[in-house]
């Protein structure tokens, strides 16, 4: 398999993971108008929790679901007890999420030590699958598939259900949504938990590829930020496209310009911010 194909597969896998991470980030940003700087920590915490669950004999998929749920519960507590108190003060909310990310990182360091922990690839997805005469790592294909399934599920949730319609209304015009009787504050909690769950789940799913180590949060958060700025906040399509763009930029950037990998990653984001501040797929909100 040629180098380019390997890079492309890795890019798609990273894109899939980033979609899981950034879909929630984007929804939170769209609805609550804040970049949730704990999102990278949720990703890392989910992965760490799963390593402990797996060590206690849970299988990989249960660990991924439960790890995600624990992170979602934490997200709910954060939103209810802290962010809620600061409603309307967006800057304070951002700073609180930054402070919380320091705390979570340090707790993870204390509990799981500084050594990287590998999560084993789940049985049955090891090895390679041959597609059109080419061998692809099975697990990476599985991640791409999971991302596609989640994208479809999220789309259905947002576009086809009553809750989704309420969330979209909240993203577009929270004041008007309140006037017509939608409890926007409850949506905040729901979306925050959902986003935290997706991030935690993504952390576990990404574990076999990335493994878990201190600093993983700080690596994933800027990527999610880039995705959301490229794609536009509150837009699912934007997150999807942005994730794959970032997946490719990151992998190809590292392979072709190893010294300038981060410039390759952040420069497009900067250009988009300057030229089209609402993002490629974002709409100008009221």
């Amino acid at each position: 398999m040629s180098l380019w194909l390997v890079l492309a597969v890795n890019s798609i896998t990273l894109g899939g993971l980033l979609f899981l991470l950034s879909a929630g980030f984007s929804l939170i940003f769209g609805l609550m108008k804040i970049p949730n700087l704990t999102h990278g920590s949720f990703f890392m915490l989910g992965a760490y929790l799963a390593t402990s669950l797996i060590a206690r004999g849970f299988n990989f998929w249960t660990a991924a679901l439960v790890g995600g749920l624990l992170v979602a519960a934490l997200g709910g507590i954060v939103e209810r007890l802290i962010l809620r108190r600061l409603a309307g003060a967006e800057l304070a909310q951002v700073l609180v999420t930054l402070g919380l990310s320091f705390m979570i990182a340090d707790v993870c360091l204390m509990v799981w030590t500084g050594d990287p922990i590998r999560i084993d690839t789940p049985a049955g997805l090891r090895g390679a699958t041959s597609v059109m005469g080419l061998g692809f790592p099975t697990y990476r294909l599985a991640i791409s598939l999971i991302a596609v399934i989640f994208a479809a599920a999220l789309w259905a949730l947002l576009d086809r259900t009553r809750l989704g319609a309420m969330i979209r209304a909240g993203v577009d015009d929270p004041a008007m949504a309140r006037v017509v009787g939608i409890r926007v504050s409850r949506l905040f909690t729901i979306v925050f938990c959902l986003g935290a769950w997706l991030a935690g789940f993504a952390g576990v799913i990404g574990g076999p590829i990335l493994s878990v180590y201190p600093g993983l949060d700080g690596e994933m958060l800027p990527l999610a930020l880039v995705v959301v700025i490229l794609g536009g906040t509150g837009s699912l399509v934007g997150s999807l496209v942005g994730s794959f763009v970032v997946g490719f930029l990151y992998n190809f950037g590292q392979a072709m310009f190893p010294e300038l990998a981060y410039v390759v990653l952040f420069l497009p984001m900067l250009i988009v911010l300057v030229v089209r501040p609402q993002g490629l797929f974002g709409r100008q909100t009221v």
């Binding site: 951002v94 010294e259 900067l270």
Partner: protein, 327 residues
Amino acid sequence: MKRLALVAALAILAAAPLWVGGTYYVNVASQILIYAIFALGVNVLAGYAGLVSLGHAGLFGIAAYGGAKLMSAGHGQVVVTVGGLAVTLVAAAFFATLSLRATGLGFVMITVALGQIVWGVAYRWISLTNGDNGISIGGRPRPFGLSLASPAGFYWATFVVFLAAVASMAILVASPFGASVRGTRDQARRMNALGYHVWMIRFLAFLFSGFWSGVAGILYLYYNQFVSPQMVALTASAEVLLMVISGGTATLLGPIVGAGLVVVMKNVASAYIERWNFVLGAIFVAIVVFMPDGLVPGTVRLGRWGLAAWRPRAPSAVPAPGEDDGR
């Protein structure tokens, strides 16, 4: 009364190497002053202009990297200092041009992106910045033949720069330009209607802020005689912002108190508390949630409230003696 207190405070600070005891604490004091200069610079934007930057560690680091590169090219201290500051000012102008297209959270995000680019270059562009290994420089400069090699000598040199920074802030705040900066924060549209060039005012405030961040960066380079990507990481930007916010934004004293608090916590407390980052995060959260306007205004308000409770019949229109709102 106020002037007397100021003179006394300055005397105590100037004599710090004589009373803190031990070179370790003198070095901590130098660090506090360096970070206080940095925090004062960030405060110009975050406090007076209402533009919160999470990328200022980039400017802090550009100054240090610029200085380190010039020094390893064999230039003297004058070229290193002036060159490092010139590079920082150019970078600050570039940062400002891009980030001032937005205000509020948009501004925050653009500065994060810019800061991360600087970090990426510092971390990955190994032929330029030596990557994770950083750049070491040999020895501290000797301005006017005075040696800064000793902790006390370096402290006094930093103290002089610190005084210049505080004085420039005091002049800025009292000047018409300072008033117009606050005006663009509070009522940008009215300022515009009154004929002020809002963008230019913000741009100049950004340059001023970048300049002092650069000065702090150069001092930090001389202090550590080493630069590494750590210096330009997002956590570094967050840390200095914490200093400004914990002390109290848009006050002169706030960033200094905040710098003292954070540096002391980091250096002294981390010797006793292993989980320093947790404490830092917890303080950050607590201050934002419970004391949103920072320690200095918060304490002043608490003090005022205490005074009022102590003397219930004191005429409220007359300010209590020695009262200082920290501006």
